[in-house]
């Protein structure tokens, strides 16, 4: 299999076959990010298609200063942001950042889920309950490791706004995953860190 950098150079030179190979190698990862940002399969598919159209148009501008995956994630984030903004205007009102999401389904109750699932699944579920604006920032920063300035640029907000959203999102996640917090006592994990029990 050819290296992604070679494929990028070939695609820049006009090779459609090389570009198709890039799509084949990266579309699952792109879809995963799009799905995490939109929380919906159909919306994620639309975002992926728009992303690759933009990548195709802009590939010659990719200079290789950052990794290709980072560049691709930025474009995906930008497309998802545009898509969610458009959808918010056309279909539903976006949730304000401070709204409280109440899920009455017992299967979604974190205490119940703690018995049947691991923290990864619980986090995945908890992410879906966040308002899109908060979810985008925490996904891009804490899962995909994008720097604050890149996140701010792609979401069209200031860096300080991105940080505020990140801290709010983390707080919401913690409150959802550990609703009892320290009310019932403290114990220590094997790695020496304290935790609520």
């Amino acid at each position: 299999m050819r290296d992604i950098d070679e494929l990028i150079e070939e695609a820049k030179g006009g090779s459609h076959v090389a570009f198709e190979e890039i799509v084949r190698l990266t579309y699952q990862d792109t879809y995963t990010l799009a799905y995490r940002l939109t929380g919906d399969e159909e919306d994620a598919s639309d975002v992926v298609q728009e992303t690759y159209l933009r990548v195709h148009k802009g590939l010659k501008k990719f200079r290789g200063d950052a990794q290709f995956s980072t560049w691709l994630h930025r474009i995906t984030a930008n497309c998802a942001n545009t898509f969610l903004g458009r959808r918010g205007r056309n279909r539903t009102d976006e949730l304000p950042d401070d709204s409280v999401v109440i899920d009455l389904n017992p299967a979604s109750d974190p205490v119940h889920r703690a018995d049947v699932g691991d923290l990864r699944n619980q986090i995945t579920d908890a992410l879906r309950t966040l308002p899109p604006k908060l979810r985008a920032v925490v996904v891009l920063r804490d899962i995909y490791d994008l720097p604050h300035e890149m996140i701010a640029a792609e979401l069209g907000i200031t860096e300080s706004a991105a940080k505020v959203r990140l801290h709010r999102a983390r707080k919401r996640l913690r409150e959802r995953l550990y609703p009892l917090n320290s009310e019932q006592g403290i114990s220590y994990e094997g790695d020496g860190e304290a935790r609520a029990v």
């Binding site: 198709e20 699952q28 298609q49 923290l119 913690r174």
Partner: protein
């Protein structure tokens, strides 16, 4: 003059911010955390969530099977799209040609039959 010691509520927001960067915790806040089990627990929870979120990076969700084809179709160069569509156009043209030929044949046949009938009537009279 000594400043007021920090309370848990004051430290709460800083703990979310400092989950991946301990330097964001101010010295008074850090002092509070070292002596407060509740804040230590909260800090540990943030770190645990963050560690687990990092592991999600390598996880991919199940993709709809038609997505790759849809994306590749969208990106196919116009020349290839024309080439791809040509067989269908050829089939359509062949079908139209066949119908036209059949109609012409039928009309010719009808003329022959009509002329034979007319010829027979003339002979009989």
């Amino acid at each position: 003059m000594l400043s007021e010691p920090m309370q848990c509520d004051d430290v709460g927001t800083l703990l979310a911010a400092s989950a991946d960067d301990a330097s964001l915790l101010s010295p008074p806040a850090a002092t509070h955390v070292t002596s407060c089990l509740r804040c230590q627990a909260e800090q540990a929870q943030y770190r645990r969530i963050l560690r687990t979120m990092k592991t999600l990076r390598t996880e991919t969700v199940v993709v709809q099977p038609e997505l790759l084809g849809d994306v590749l179709d969208l990106l196919r160069p116009p020349a290839e799209v024309v080439k791809f569509r040509r067989p269908a156009e050829d089939r359509r043209r062949a079908a139209i040609g066949g119908i036209a030929a059949a109609a012409t044949g039928a009309a010719a046949g009808a003329l022959v039959i009509a002329s034979k009938i007319a010829g027979g009537r003339r002979l009989a009279s």
